[in-house]
Amino acid sequence: MSTPFYVSPEQLMRDRADFARKGISRGRALVSLQFADGIVFASENPSAALHKVSEIYDRIAFAAVGRYNEFENLRIAGVRLADMRGYAYDRRDVTGRGLANAYAQTLGTIFSSGGEKPYEVELFVGEIGDSAADDQLYRLTYDGQVVDEHGFAAIGGAAEAVGGYLKERYTEGASLEDAIKLAVAALGHTDTDDREIAAKDLEVAVLDRNRTQPRKFRRIRPATLVEILGAVSGTAELEDAKPAAAEKSAAEETATEDSAEKSGEKSADEAPLAPPADDDDGEPPIAPPVD
């Protein structure tokens, strides 16, 4: 017979939170930015098939970091919820707020129940309205907290460094190109140096209110990314038989270099996450997509 022992609720919750944070911080950051025509999501993701950013419904997108099988479960649940509701009622009755609440309840219940391992995920639910003022961006943490973000936000490992970088440079009403450039520069930023991320290692998608179709979600293809990013992805594209793209890019290269020293001071107090624990090769183990 095992000996009964007492663990204070505070300790229990702290342990569970530490566990979840640790898992999340192993992955890379994902950023979400509002721009003039909608919301852009960007992350470093070498896999072309396993997505971190996805369409949920007409104007609603989902983006997540952490354990793939767990956020994939949440994504599928979201698609099912949205489609079920849109089918039973009307397409207009599917809202980002409703979805964010459902996720929050689910994550919160899992986190505080003793029986289940907490989810090691953090996610965005974004919804665009008819104008930038109507756009909504919710950030959800592993314990079911919902934060209504404005303008920009970052999740995942290195979220503070990336978020700090964005905070310095974010402007409202930017063009899509500028928003993507900023997002990618932010993803490559760490406290010690700035990296260039190759276009093929990026996953970028937008909710674009200028799309004529009712479904506003759109992935930005690598070729388009190369065009937009120019300098940032230029060197990596050299090996991809696209010398022309690399050449024109050299001029812009200095734009992102002055950032390293600025972010250090602001990261400590607002950190929702522990700093990355391991070396940065580490996505959590990736499962194949469920059937």
Binding site: V79, L81, D83, A88
Partner: protein, 279 residues
């Protein structure tokens, strides 16, 4: 989405079919889930009638009249019977109107759901098969007279051409070449198409040919509505090519319909097909 925790079924890995999920979770939401006894229900709801479709190089066009009838009455003059299913496919419906519209809505959700879950679209055959399954599930209703018979068209990126699939009430699926029709007036429409259709027609000419066919159907079938000039109600015409699908604006279809009617004022039976030997 006001429930608290998302129910387990939503988070269980499994099907990427929305219809299957609905069958398991909320069968009450399926079209035709209400069993109506053994009476023949054929006359309790409006019926949609004639849909025609034909391919042209690089695409396919589907067109439907606007009339729905209930017994000997005209129930609707402006019913829509042609719906885009997704960007590259569309479905026209004949038969029991209410059920058919529900079925189309389920089919649209099904395709979109699959696309979102899987991150890729179904093949054209895959789409046609899913529609088969949905029709088959309506078989009990069909036995009571509430038959739904769609015509499915789509652009096939693998072949770069338009495809047409016809169905029977049991879900049997038959690929059609060149042109097809469904509904009570389709007999006449197909006869008309047989004489006017050529494989190399361009898009604009094919639209005119399909409207001629619908006119012929309306001419001989009381359940099919012709172009209604006084109310400005014209057939719904949906064109699908490699660039995606678009429903032609009323003004565009109206102009063609008026030209067809003007022609019929001179020659009530319509354009004459050439006889063998070119006379």
């Amino acid at each position: 989405m006001s429930e608290s925790r998302i129910p387990a079924a939503f988070m269980t890995p499994g099907t990427s079919s929305f219809a299957d999920f609905l069958t398991a979770q909320s069968p009450d939401l399926l079209p035709g889930s209400v069993q109506g006894g053994s009476a023949n229900l054929g006359d309790i709801a409006p019926h949609g009638t004639t849909i025609v479709a034909a391919t042209f190089p690089g695409g396919v066009i589907i067109a439907g009249d606007r009339r729905a009838t209930q017994g000997n009455l005209i129930a609707e003059r402006d019913m829509r019977k042609v719906y885009p299913a997704d960007e590259y496919s569309a479905v026209g419906i004949a038969g029991s109107a209410g059920l058919a519209i529900e079925l189309v809505k389920l089919f649209q959700t099904e395709l979109e759901h699959y696309e979102k879950i899987e991150g890729t679209t179904l093949s054209i055959e895959g789409k046609a098969s899913r529609l088969s399954a949905l029709i088959r599930s309506n078989l009990p209703m069909a036995m009571q007279g509430l038959v739904v018979v769609p015509l499915f068209v789509g652009f096939d990126p693998d072949t770069g051409s338009g495809r047409i699939y016809g169905y029977d009430p049991t879900g049997g699926r038959y690929e059609q070449t060149s042109y097809s029709g469904v509904g009570s007036g389709s007999l006449f429409a197909k006869g008309s198409l047989k004489k006017l259709y050529r494989e190399d027609l361009d898009e604009a000419t094919l639209v005119a040919v399909l409207i001629q066919a619908l006119y012929d159907a309306a001419d001989d079938d009381s359940a099919t509505g012709g172009p209604d000039l006084s109310r400005k109600l014209f057939p719904i015409v949906h064109v699908i090519t490699a660039d995606g699908g678009r429903t032609l604006p009323d003004a565009e279809v109206g102009a063609v319909a008026e030209a067809v009617i003007t022609g019929r004022l001179q020659r009530p039976d319509g354009p004459i097909a050439e006889l063998e030997g070119g006379q």
